[in-house]
């Protein structure tokens, strides 16, 4: 177990390292980052100054090594735009995005678990098709479009929820709905497929043959087994939701990581952009590790005796 976790952490580290390199190289896509950093109306002298300040005059590998070295020592650099340290800036926003991600995950599960179970039980009936329709719609509706629709209804027409910001829980309702609904279909399909498979499994027939009440059969015997892959998906989806919150956070001006990412992209704030990409990858890798552990805990077949 320990061996395994150490191995996985090693992999995570390797992934993070690769991502860090890619994230670092992203900057050079624009050609000369100094030009981008200098901003509107900068003169040649300003650009040279920027080049010096950020050490952009050195060879790229040296720059990367230097950046990485600082990173390892906990120095995440300075935001070019906000002129503050990247570490606190990013960590400050991470909480909001994590809450949003978890809320969206919650929404997705609340929508998908009952629908998935229903669809599986009434496989190929109109109920199944209805559930599938709801799911496919969620996948088809562009989430920014859905977000705008929500905003129109809940904020403008009914004035029930605040349009934007992140002060209270009400601020999270629409973003979580928009994000969660988009994530729900994946869960629903997985739960449906899992439940169909499990419901067709021999041990379910055994449970029914034992005369157990239908609810016990479905929830104790079936769902318990169908839910195992959902845990892994939940981790992966949470990772995606964190990364995918850019659009939604921007629309609702939710002061989280996604919004910061969007800002840093538009402001050419490379240090922030790099750290966000890196942070999200690390979170993703850790989440999948956590999912594996959770899986092991849920599935006695891989549990360590």
């Amino acid at each position: 177990m320990l061996f395994y976790i150490v191995k996985r952490l090693g992999l995570a580290l390797l992934v993070a390292l690769t991502v860090s390199f890619l994230a670092y190289m992203l900057v050079f896509l624009s050609g000369d980052p100094a030009l981008a950093l200098a901003g509107e109306g900068a003169r040649q002298a300003d650009i040279e100054m920027v080049r010096k300040t950020y050490g952009l005059d050195r060879p790229i590998p040296v720059q990367y090594a230097d950046w990485l070295g600082k990173l390892v020592r906990g120095n995440l650099g300075m935001s070019v735009y906000f002129k503050t340290e990247v570490g606190p800036l990013v960590l400050d926003k991470l909480g909001t995005t994590l809450w949003l991600g978890l809320a969206a995950l919650g929404v997705a599960l609340v929508i998908s678990v009952p629908l998935g179970v229903l669809a599986a039980i009434y496989k190929n009936s109109w109920i199944d098709r209805l559930c599938l329709g709801v799911a496919v719609l969620g996948q088809a509706l562009p989430n920014f479009f859905f977000a705008l629709l929500l905003m129109m209804l809940f904020s403008i027409t009914w004035r029930l929820l605040p349009v934007s910001g992140s002060g209270t829980w009400q601020h999270f309702v629409m973003p979580a709905l928009a994000l969660g609904y988009y994530a729900a279909p994946a869960f629903m399909r997985l739960i449906r497929a899992g439940m169909i498979e499990v419901l067709g499994a021999d041990y379910i027939r055994t449970a029914r043959a034992k005369g157990l009440p239908p609810a016990t059969v479905v929830f104790k015997h079936a769902l318990r087994n169908a839910i195992v892959p959902v845990v892994a998906l939940a981790a992966v989806q949470l990772g995606f939701l964190l990364g995918g919150s850019v659009v939604i956070e921007t629309i609702f001006a939710l002061d989280g990581l996604g919004y910061l990412a969007y800002q840093s992209i538009t402001y050419k704030d490379f240090p922030v952009m790099q750290i966000i990409v890196l942070l999200l990858s690390v979170i993703y890798v850790l989440l999948t590790l956590a999912a594996d552990v959770a899986n092991a805990w849920l599935d006695p077949r891989i549990r360590v005796a």
Binding site: K123, A201, D202, Y203, R205, T206, A207, R208, A209, K210, G211, L212, P213, T216, H221, R224, N225, L298, D299, P300, R301, A305
Partner: protein, 330 residues
């Protein structure tokens, strides 16, 4: 047939229909048989002939799409065809139990053996945890599992196939059922273990005096364990009767063909020709007129496409064939 009370299960005219895109599939057609207390009935036939469907129909465990109808479906005198879902659920696992083919998959991987052994006992009998546990240990010992108490905490994947099948048997016997249906309980196991499991089943059945319906495609198993045999072909029971009669004097050409196919040491010469049944099983979709075996039958004749008479020998053997016993003998 003597006293009615002796009959545990009586099936008359059982049909199962499954609508499919290609038409209605009839995996079970007009099947009739009965099982008495302390008796073992073997349902035998080739793959896909409807053995499992028959057993599932008895337990009301058919797939959602399938429907079942029967002229008579009586369990311990109670009409199952008319019984409510609830009533059937109350009988299942309690008065009638079932064992499946795949011991690897028939147990829920997420729960311990102990949990799975006791849950229906507690549900049907309202027993407390301690009671149920005692009963579980008792039964595990009965199926020959040593250090039973320790096993209760184990998960199915920690047991070998043979052990799992023993657990399945113990599970079926928890509530002391009157009827045990075993659908190919040994097919998935290795030959040596298969023998062990069959022996255990046979012993328990005799000891507890339960009625058993054993489904198999292995004529060797049938010969060793059955009191009565029902041979199924394409959803129908083509021949039924006491095991000794069926093996000694098979009447239906299909039964005859089946018996000729298996190499029997000492009877078939090594390297010699085995008997065969040419052709393939007919589709079960749509209605069937006459004998379903006629296009594979060496004795086929025009009359085969009409209604086939049910013939009965003095020894209690029944079969459906146009050939009269005397004609056949000629």
């Amino acid at each position: 047939m003597t006293v009615a009370a002796e009959t545990v299960l009586e099936v008359q005219g059982l049909h199962v229909d499954i609508p499919t895109p290609a038409g209605v599939l009839h995996p079970v057609r007009d099947v009739s048989f009965q099982v008495r207390r302390g008796e073992t009935l073997c349902l035998v036939g080739e793959s896909g002939c409807g053995k499992s469907m028959t057993s599932l129909a008895l337990m009301d465990l058919l797939p959602r799409a399938a429907t079942r109808r029967a002229t008579t479906l009586r369990f311990l005198g109670e009409d199952l065809a008319q019984a409510s879902r609830k009533r059937i659920n109350a009988l299942r696992g309690d008065r009638m139990a079932m064992i499946f083919q795949e011991p690897m998959t028939a147990l829920n991987p997420a729960y311990t053996i102990g949990e799975q052994l006791v849950e229906h006992y507690r549900h049907h009998r309202g027993a407390g945890p301690a009671d149920a546990r005692t009963r579980a240990v008792e039964l595990l010992e009965k199926v020959g599992i040593a250090s039973a108490a320790k096993r209760l905490g184990q998960y199915p994947h920690q047991l070998s196939g043979g052990l799992r099948q023993r657990v399945m048997i113990a599970m079926a016997l928890m509530c002391g059922p009157e009827l045990l249906i075993a659908d190919e309980p040994s097919t998935a196991l290795d030959v040596t273990i298969q023998a062990q499991i069959l022996r255990l089943l046979a012993d328990l059945q005799k000891e507890l005096g339960i009625a058993m319906v054993l489904i198999t495609h292995d004529l060797g198993v049938v010969a060793r364990i059955a009191d009565r045999v029902a041979v199924m072909y394409a959803g129908e029971v083509v021949e039924e009767g006491p095991a000794t009669e069926i093996f000694a004097t098979p009447r239906h050409p299909y039964t005859v063909g089946l018996l000729s196919c298996i190499p029997v040491p000492g009877r078939t010469p090594p390297g010699g020709k085995l008997g065969t049944i040419p052709g393939v099983v007919p589709s079960l979709v749509g209605d069937l007129q006459g004998c379903s075996f006629r296009d594979r039958c060496a004795h086929a004749q025009p009359g085969c496409s009409r209604t086939i008479p049910l013939r009965e020998s003095p020894a209690g053997q029944q079969w459906r064939c146009v050939l009269a016993p005397e004609a056949e003998a000629a």
